[in-house]
Amino acid sequence: MTRALAVRIAVKALSLAVLVAAWQVASAFAHSPALPQPLAVLAFVTREAVSGDLLFNLGATLARVAAAFVIAMAVGVALGIAFGRRRGLDQAFDPWLVLLLNTPALVVTVLCYIWLGLTEAAAVLAVALNKIPNVTVLLREGTRALSPDLDEMASAFRLSFWDRMRHVVLPQLEPYVAGAARSGLALVWKIVLVVELLGRPNGVGYAISVYFQLFDVTAVLGYSLAFMAVMLAVEYFVLQPFEAHARRWRPATH
């Protein structure tokens, strides 16, 4: 481990420790069930983990996040490239995009549940539909910024459609895809919780809704923090290494 990396990790750990300390102090002053102490939350998380409920609910939510995320990214990237490449298509469907961008997540979720029933497909579709317009808009902008010189080079050397996408187009869109993925994951898991709260019998959102009715803030915080930890792990152990791999060709900058 380099010294710079060790310092970076130490700064982040210290920052988190300060946050927990502030929480501890605030809960000691408040002395109310509305703001439990960090240790109480940790004890709850441990109990739920031992009983198996935590992993079951985390797993259900994570599966929905993964399914909705993959669908939203695949459809959004494809639409974004198509809209960026074909002006006619963009002009024809831009109003749809604006409409979807401005439709509240709650409305999309409720309509999906009404039209498709309280099913897993409806839940995943609702989350994906909420994210697709963002990915599309980001990738449309990225596609408009593609290098015409490289495009011409690919035409001159008669590259096939797939070679052109894989080697010429997608690497140029990588920063936009990475941006969409990062903001997308954050948005998707928040919407998944709302969708679970409204119409699923399991998952972190469902658990939070149950404990909310019991006014159990310790449990609400426990489930929220456990899932945040999972998302942080995905960010640090999946997204960031993937991004570093995709950008390995860039000269190092300091």
Partner: protein, 247 residues
């Protein structure tokens, strides 16, 4: 005109090509340019900077289809190797990957050792273009253009920004590659000496709009073209076409 009886690779007539300028008016950049290119022939297009040479190349290679006239056969059906004015390498692929990617599918598994060696790139095969000098990047672009054994090799000022020794070495490799594969070469340059050293035929373009104003067939073999001979030819051409003075 190519030599009589030589099998024709391209027969083009560009009646007119217009660009739309920023204020919306159409500007004619090429008018009445006829060009026939035989297989194995090396033709240089010479003319002043900005006269429409590159535009003509783009039409002849099928990269620009918005013009009045015809190019037969359709250049989309030809195997073309091209060197643009800029190297146009993929920065996220290594030197070797940049070359391999543009090869026809059946040739992609072949070893690239000989071509990397010939173009002085063996030590840079695993480098990314961002780590190369402009001169090295130009070598990669040249190697990429000849590696796929094209029927038509199109070179748009390929030797600029190279030092004299490297340029001369690379000219030799390009000639060898073209001779070995039987490729026709169409090169744009404004360096008359370079054109006189390499070409079988020079086509001189006038400007505003670009059109052929002269043609010169050169003697073979190239080995007989001494620096003195090149200088004589250049002076004679400059007398005939004052626009070439100083080129």
């Amino acid at each position: 005109m190519p030599a009589a009886g030589a099998p024709l690779l391209i027969d083009a007539h560009i009646a007119s090509k217009r660009h739309t300028s920023a204020d919306g008016t159409a500007v004619e950049v090429v008018r009445g340019l006829d060009l026939r290119l035989a297989r194995g022939e090396f033709v240089c297009l010479i003319g002043p900077s900005g006269c429409g040479k590159t535009t003509s190349l783009r039409i002849l290679t099928g990269l620009d289809r918005h013009f009045e006239g015809r190019v037969t056969p359709d250049p989309k059906g030809l195997a073309i190797g091209i060197v643009f004015q800029e190297p146009r390498l993929l920065p996220w692929r290594t030197v070797e990957e940049n070359i391999r990617l543009t090869l026809p599918k059946p040739l992609r598994r072949q070893g690239l050792g000989p071509i990397l060696e010939a173009f002085g790139l063996a030590a840079h095969a695993a480098s990314y273009p961002g780590a190369l000098s402009l001169g090295l990047a130009r070598r990669v672009a040249l190697a990429r253009a000849v590696a796929g054994r094209p029927e038509l090799l199109v070179l748009d000022e390929p030797f600029v920004s190279l030092d004299a020794r490297a340029a001369s070495e690379l000219r030799r490799h390009v000639l060898l590659a073209a001779q070995e594969t039987g490729a026709a070469v169409l090169m744009v340059t404004h360096d008359v000496r370079e054109a006189l050293a390499l070409a079988d035929r020079l086509v001189l373009l006038g400007e505003h709009p670009a059109r052929a104003v002269g043609e010169q067939v050169l003697d073979r073999p190239r080995e007989l073209r001494t620096p003195e001979w090149i200088e004589q030819q250049r002076a004679a051409l400059a007398e005939l076409h004052p626009m070439l003075k100083g080129a």
